[in-house]
């Protein structure tokens, strides 16, 4: 069971990083971006196709990251151009349309056959007390921790981070101060696109990785973001890792094994019912 939980940390790290992207997008970009993982899939499959075509792995990875950044920036540009004044609900509906569109494009461009995604983090890293820790799990957990810390520092210390925080608190006032909201928005989409790709590049070789199941990793990521209330970065990271570990542990309980993918939904429902118990009015309307 412990071994299962540790193995689950690979996916958990991915949930955490994707959840961080969702939290950032919600806080700073006013959207629940259900297309977040699907954007990452663009990068992963670009890498995979190039690597299969003989391009060196790390060059292919770079190309994948660039592809995802471009696609994300394009989507972010459209969002800023046409839906600048729209509310979170409507922007999120757009993100759902993005998700459907991206999945279609990915099938069209990369084909519908499942692919084995090449990776370099295959083997075990260490065995502690009879429990094997894989390289992928270690990298994913480290990535979750580092990205949480990095993003926190970025938001707290840099000029751009400061402007993003100002925008998230009072968009109109920030624009009146000359803060270029659209450009920052596009940048935000691009950066989260790159982060999503990066973490999926680690996870994809470890599992059954068709476009859809990777794209729907956004669901457990939503659960993670909900743990942090779509606000707290640390809460999101902890939520993601915990969810992955729980799923991994359940995978070792034979009666529950086939239902472990129900865990994110149960988590979402429970968190929402608990955290929203005091809310009554949709403040704006």
């Amino acid at each position: 069971m412990l071994e299962g939980a540790i193995a689950g940390l690979t996916a958990g790290g991915a949930y955490a990083v994707l959840g961080l992207c969702l939290t950032l997008m919600y806080r700073l970009g006013r959207v629940v971006n259900l297309a977040q993982a699907a954007i990452g899939v663009v990068g992963v499959y670009t890498m995979s196709v190039l690597a299969d075509g003989g391009v060196p792995y790390f060059v292919a990875v770079l190309a994948g990251l660039v592809a995802a950044a471009l696609v994300a920036a394009g989507l972010g540009y459209m969002m800023g151009r046409w839906f600048a004044e729209a509310g979170t609900d409507q922007r999120s509906a757009i993100a759902i349309a993005y998700l459907v569109g991206l999945l279609a494009i990915e099938y069209l461009v990369f084909g519908t056959d499942p692919r084995q995604i090449p990776g370099v983090l295959g083997g075990p890293l260490a065995t502690v007390g009879g429990v094997t820790i894989t390289q992928a799990a270690a990298v994913c957990v480290a990535a979750a921790v580092l990205i949480t810390a990095g993003v926190s520092v970025f938001l707290a210390r840099t000029a751009v981070g400061l402007r993003l925080r100002a925008l998230s608190q009072r968009p109109t006032t920030a624009e009146l101060m000359g803060i270029p909201s659209r450009r920052l928005g596009v940048g935000l989409w691009a950066v989260t696109g790159v982060l999503a790709t990066a973490v999926l590049l680690v996870v994809a070789p470890q599992q059954n990785s068709d476009q859809l199941s990777l794209g729907l990793m956004v669901i457990p990521a939503c659960a993670a973001a909900l743990v942090g209330g779509f606000r707290s970065l640390v809460g999101t990271a902890v939520g993601g890792l915990a969810l992955g570990a729980l799923q991994g542990a359940l995978a070792h309980v034979s009666q529950l094994q086939e239902f472990r993918d129900v865990v994110p939904f149960v988590a979402i429902l429970a968190i929402l019912l608990w955290s929203q118990r005091g809310e009554v009015w949709d403040a704006a309307r």
Partner: protein, 240 residues
Amino acid sequence: MTSSLVLDDVTVARGGAPIVRGVSLTAPAGEVTALLGPNGAGKTTLLESVSGVIPITGGTVSLNGGRLNALDRVARARAGIAHVEQGRTVFPDLTVAENILVVRRGPGVIDKALELFPELHKRLDVAASLLSGGEQQMLVLARALAARPSALLIDEMSLGLAPVIVQRLLPVVRDLAASGVAVLLVEQFATLALKIADTAHVLSGGTLTYSGPAAGLRSAPERLHAAYLGEPLPGVAGGS
């Protein structure tokens, strides 16, 4: 007169209904221009159309000779418009220092912006949401100054503030104008604004009903009473 904010025949509609109709006025640099009028007269709407929060339906707005109509609010801010909105719009979760640095970073920016508000110096690391109302209003003004604007639009500065605080802020606005900024001051509390204004305009029902020297209104408070309370009020002196 080196530079100025000029509104020419400006019309603004909201939801199909015209709120401001054919307003023309000039706010010269170095002066405080007061825009007075009862609530619902369209003062805020007019300011918002100048800074680009809402679009202008007709007429032109120009700053130092350059037309602003086609620019969005970000570009207008960069062209030199600073808009202090109603309701003390600090960034609540940012500290006092961050609220200023978000506009401009660099050595001395904070010191320069807080020159007129020394009391904020001790509270640089306090989150803006924890400041008192008066301090928040000072911070919003300081933040606008950090952008080094050519024109400063101030909307209802005294709203919800104790009179003592307002008393403290008014000379600051005066000093700001003296430093070469064109200040357009929207104020519901007319007598306050008239104390520091050079020129005054009264907006009523979307059109200007008085334009002239502020002194003209100071000495004839019955005009104000008519615009505000519906009819002249005997027995209440408006100004000094």
